[in-house]
Symmetry: C2
Subunit: 315 residues, 2 copies
C-alpha cells in the first residue's frame, strides 16, 4: 500500500496553513528534570475544536474540493473529536454536516457539534447509519482516520515538531485508530531516521495493538477506557500499513496508569488535556517506554476536550 | 512616588530573559467570536512555578545581587504563588529560603514550596514571623508585590504583549496586591497611551478597590474568595501609586461570576488556569467591563496552580 509521501505532507501544509492553529511546542521542564529528559509537548489541545482532528478533516475536505469540486455536504461518525472537527469544517466552508454519534456520547461533545452547526443523529449503528445518510443526501463521508488525506493532515504536526527544534530522539503518540501516529511518523521518520516513534494505547482499547498481533483482526470486546478519544473499535488498513512501516512499537497502558498520569500531566504542563492525551506520559511514568538520559522527547498532546464531570474524578 | 521607568523594565528584561518562560500570547477565537472581539490571552500559567510571580521574584533577587551582593538567604510570606516563586528562585541560585505560610494554606502549595527546597513555617502572623526570621538569620525579605523591582519584573509581561502584536485596545489584569497590574500598566501605557487598562478583583477580596476609595486604608474584613491568589489583605504604596497614575479602572466581580467564568475559560482556552486568572473574563462576561466590537483585548492569565479538589467543584 502507498504511504503518505513528503509531497503529500507539503501539500497538506499548503492547504491548511493559516486555517489551523500553529500550535506551540512547549518545554516541560517540570517532568523532564525528574526523569533526566529534554521533554517537550506539542499542544494540539490548543488546536481549533480542541484536538488535532481539525487538521486531517480540513486537509481531506480541501483535497477533495481540489480533485472533485465542493461536496454537497459532509457526513461523519464519531463519539467526539472527529465529530466536532467535521462540524467545524462544515461551518467554515458553509457546508451542511450530519454526524452520527453513539447514544452514550458525552453531552458536551454533542452540544459542541451542534454549536458548530452540525446535525447530530444518535445511533448504535454508526457506520451503517452514516453510510445510508451520505448515500441518500449525496454527502461526502469523511472517515475519522483511515484515509491518506486525513493522515497527511495529521502529518503537519510532525513537520511543525521538526521545524521547532532539533530532531527528537523519541516521539510518543496516543493511538486510537492510528491516524495521528501514521501522520506524525510519516513526517518525522523522513527527517529523523533514527528517532524512536512509539504509539501508546489503553490496554482496554487496543485496536491497533490487537491488529498488529493478529494480522488485522478487530478485538472481540468493545473498547472501553477513560481515554475515550482512543476507543476505536478497529484499526484502519492505511493506518496499519503506516504503523508497520514507520513506527517502532505500540505499547498498551493500564487504565489506572492513565488516571495517575493525567493529573500529573495537567499539573506539570498547565494545559487542559483530555485523558487520551495522557497515555504517552503514563507509558513513560510506568517504565513501559524508557528513554536514555538527555534524549529529546516529544509527547503529542492530542486534545483537550474534557468535561467538568471527568475533571471531578481527579478529586 | 517614583514609578517604574522604561529603563527599569528594560533592565528587568535583561536580567530575567532566558531564566523565565517567554510565555505565548494565544488567540482565543472561541470566546472572541462570541463577543465580537479580537481576544488574546497571555498564558502566564505556563511560567516556571505556574504563575507570573517568578518574574518579579527573579528580577528582585538579581537586582539586589547587582546592588548589594548575594544575600545570605531569602525570606517571604505568602499563601501560595509568591511562596513557590521565592523557593524556586532560592533553589535556582542555591540560596536557603524560608517561607511563612498561613496554617490553612492549600497542602499542594506547601508541598510545592518544599519540593523547591524551601523551608515552610506555618503561622497566623505572616509578616511578624517573617520579619523576625529574616532579622535573626540575616536573610533578605522579598516582598510579594509592593516593591519596584518586583513590579519591574512583572512589567516584562507587558513588554512581551507589545512585542507579540499590535498595541491592544483593552488589557484586563487580575488584581490582588496590585503588583501584576502595576507592572503591566507601566509597560503597556508607555507604548499604547490610549489603551484601556482595567484591573479586576473579587468583590470579597478587594484590597486595591477599597484603598482607592479610602485613600489607602485596608478593608475591615479579611479577604475570602475562590480566587485565593488575589486575597491580599492590603494594597501596597508603590502599587497604589502605579494604579492611580496608569490604570483606567479597577472593578470588582461577584464570587459566583468567577465560578461560572472559570469553567468557560478553561474550556475555551484549553489552558489549566487557577480561578484568580478567570476574574478578568468574569468581568467581560457579566458586562462589568465592555469593549467596542473588534477591539484587540488581552486577558493576562496570571497562573495555573489549582488543586484537584478545586477542579472537582466544577462538576
Amino acid at each position: 500500500m502507498q504511504l503518505v509521501s513528503a509531497d503529500d505532507i507539503t501539500a497538506a501544509q499548503r492547504r491548511i496553513g493559516g486555517r489551523v492553529v500553529r500550535t506551540p511546542l512547549l518545554a516541560c521542564t517540570h517532568i523532564g528534570d525528574e526523569y533526566g529528559l529534554d521533554l517537550w509537548v506539542k499542544a494540539e489541545n490548543l488546536q481549533h475544536t480542541g484536538s488535532f482532528k481539525t487538521r486531517g478533516v480540513l486537509n481531506a475536505l480541501l483535497a477533495l474540493t481540489e480533485r472533485a469540486g465542493r461536496p454537497a455536504g459532509l457526513a461523519a461518525f464519531s463519539a467526539g473529536n472527529h465529530a466536532m472537527a467535521v462540524a467545524y469544517a462544515g461551518q467554515a466552508y458553509a457546508l451542511p454536516t450530519v454526524v452520527c454519534m453513539p447514544p452514550h456520547a458525552v453531552p458536551t461533545k454533542i452540544e459542541a457539534v451542534r454549536r458548530y452547526g452540525g446535525e447530530v443523529v444518535l445511533t448504535d449503528d454508526l457506520l451503517g447509519t452514516c453510510e445510508a445518510i451520505a448515500a441518500e443526501r449525496g454527502y461526502h463521508l469523511l472517515p475519522p482516520f483511515d484515509d491518506p488525506d486525513v493522515i497527511a493532515g495529521q502529518a503537519t504536526i510532525g513537520r511543525e515538531i521538526l521545524a521547532d527544534g532539533p530532531p527528537p530522539g523519541l516521539v510518543l503518540v496516543p493511538v486510537g485508530g492510528g491516524g495521528l501516529i501514521s501522520g506524525v511518523a510519516a513526517a518525522v521518520r523522513a527527517a529523523a531516521p533514527t528517532a524512536r516513534i512509539v504509539g501508546v494505547e489503553p490496554a482496554t482499547a487496543n485496536a491497533v495493538g490487537h491488529a498488529l498481533r493478529t494480522g488485522g483482526a478487530a478485538p472481540a470486546t468493545p473498547p472501553r477506557s477513560m481515554a475515550d478519544g482512543l476507543a476505536a473499535p478497529f484499526a484502519g488498513r492505511h493506518t496499519l500499513a503506516h504503523i508497520q512501516a514507520l513506527v517502532d512499537d505500540v505499547v498498551e497502558v493500564a487504565e489506572d496508569a492513565i488516571w495517575g498520569a493525567w493529573w500529573e500531566l495537567l499539573d506539570a504542563t498547565k494545559l487542559l488535556v483530555e485523558p487520551s492525551a495522557a497515555v504517552t506520559y503514563a507509558a513513560l511514568r510506568t517504565g513501559l517506554v524508557s528513554a536514555a538520559s538527555c534524549t529529546r522527547v516529544v509527547l503529542v498532546l492530542s486534545g483537550g476536550n474534557v468535561s467538568p464531570a471527568a475533571l471531578a474524578t481527579l478529586r
